[in-house]
Amino acid sequence: MSVNNLNGRRRGLLRNMTDTNLLTSITIAVFVIMYICAIIFLQKGFLKPQMLFNLLNENAALIILASGMTLVMITGGIDISVGGVTALISMCCAVFLDKQGGNVIGAIFIAVGIGLAFGIVQGFLIAYLEIQPFIVTLAGMFFARGMTTIVYKEPFNVENEAFVALKDTRVNIPFLGSVNKNGVYVDAYVEIGVITALLIVAVLFVVLKWTKTGRNFYAVGGNRQSALMLGINVKKTTFMSYVICGLLAGIGGFVYFMHVGSGSPSHASGAEMNAIASSIIGGTMLTGGVGNIVGTFFGTMSLALIQNIVRSVGLDQAWWTGITIAAMLCIFLVVQSIIIARRKKANNKQKQTEVKENADVGQ
């Protein structure tokens, strides 16, 4: 629950922050500090802006998936089907484009359609039939993964011309380029997926911050009972969060597909866990009611950055990635848990003193 303590008794910037803002600022600080450390100690091109843009290029899909995940987590749920859905979408689009001779617009519709279908079915089961979200989406994930191999078994690259053209479209960013080995100035670039991801982050940020629907998500996640008493349609809000998450999984799936340009059953393996980890590192609480899309954005970037750093340091064996992500996740979870416990204690203490004072005044 993001409880504001605005009653002047507690001073200091940190204490007056809501849980959401506090956790978000920790994440942003961690990201910035890590990046500065990387620039100072590693010097392997971290100073070049393109390094940052490459982080974005590689993780645009993850940012979109994690945004959807954040939304679901704010309402107190979880959706672990997004990775499977991404793989299924890549495979379906790849088959549609290459084996069925479809066009790109159709592929986009397929992607969004699959994502929405998963969102609607899962949302209905969770919101209206009150089945545990974890079980439903776990089944969703296995269904998607199984379906991927049923659709097509072998991994293959897509050679559809229109799609390849779309895939290779780059948006150049002036003034931030760098001089390459041959002394030629090269513009910095981002892929279309990054633009999509940033747009989604911006839209979701506005929706969650300033619209009634957005605030409803927080209310439902913070306390279902109170939300119900305030006249919020709790079931519909929960349902909507899964539908939006499914929609974003659809878009994210297509962005992923655009980045890799191939279909394979092993695509996006572990993406759901990375998305959850990004959200948690970004300051979203699993208990619901606390979370911030901007935090999630930086959470994803931190996760990507630390993998990059681990690789640059020379620990390039595959297992280090898993271990670092887990370690980071662990630290953030424990920090969150400690912060929240301390705040709760402080709140309780304050309440007690207030009650005492009121009693004194009463006498």
Partner: protein, 366 residues
Amino acid sequence: MSKLPDVNGGGSVLSRVMRNQILIPLAALFLLAIFNLIADPSFFAITLKENNMGNPVLSGQLISIIDNGSELAILAIGMTLVTASSKGQDISVGAAVAISGSVILRVLCGTDNSPETLQAPIIVAFLVAAVASMLFGAFNGVLVAYFRIQPMVATLILFTAGRSIAAWINNNQLPIAPGEEFKVFGGFIPGIPIPTPFLIAILCFIVTWAMLKFTNIGLYSQSVGINEKTARLNGLNPELIKLATYVILGLCVAVTGLIKVSRISTINYSVIAKDIEMDTILAVALGGNSLSGGKFNMAASILGAYVIQFLTTTLYKFKVPSTALPAYKAVVVIVLVVLSAPVVREKLSRLMKKIRSSKNTAENHA
């Protein structure tokens, strides 16, 4: 939360059937058996053969079910306790099995990848793996009990890192344990035609039964799962009990790891015990246990595990490729959880009542 609403208010046969937990997996087993009997009666054939070691062994689909279902059943024991006490599931069991298997091979093979003889007694290897698994279990348990992180998320950490840690323990090599001695745990004991994993599982069941009978862990974990505050007021230590259930699950993981590596004498980090967490959770759910904690029925969970293996074997028999298996299982899970959802049950019982009352009125009119 943990208790399903008493939908039919007593009386009818259906409600009594619905209320006895073990009937849920039994009914599923019955349905699967009938299905197989109609499709191909040879499914149930059991033959006595000689294996390549010259030992008489039983073989057949049913034997393969009790053989391969044993790991699942052993894990289901621990998972049931964890579910009951902490209102959530441990999703890291697959990864933890990989770690335990890796530890066993590391101890057995030492630094050499394919030594001529075992470098350490098997029992030592198993004990080291058991300690390691219990430590990892305790790690999960501490996060859940003391830091109050949701179980599925706390175990997400080990889920992400587990297979990497397993690979790291053996330096990403694939050591091969030599000799026939080690193969016994995943194969057959000379002279006994029943697969060893099943015997190990039986041993685990007896230990579990004794544990539930003579200690309070079962009662305590249920009361913590039903209401933590009340449990505390009654003098229990909920944190310690939750931690204990995770440590017990760690022990189950170690046993599973031993069987899994013994089957092939080596390990494949990304494949060993893959998706077993899903099956284990499913076994608990199929046993009619509430996944949101509280009361449990251990026998039903164990039976649930074998029913799932039955389903898997049936699907294999119908030439479903192993990669597509999850899709079919997911459908079964969804059907199962939808049917057992309180909301759906309530609707169904209301429907039943309506039918009954309309029948009554019709009789009255007549």
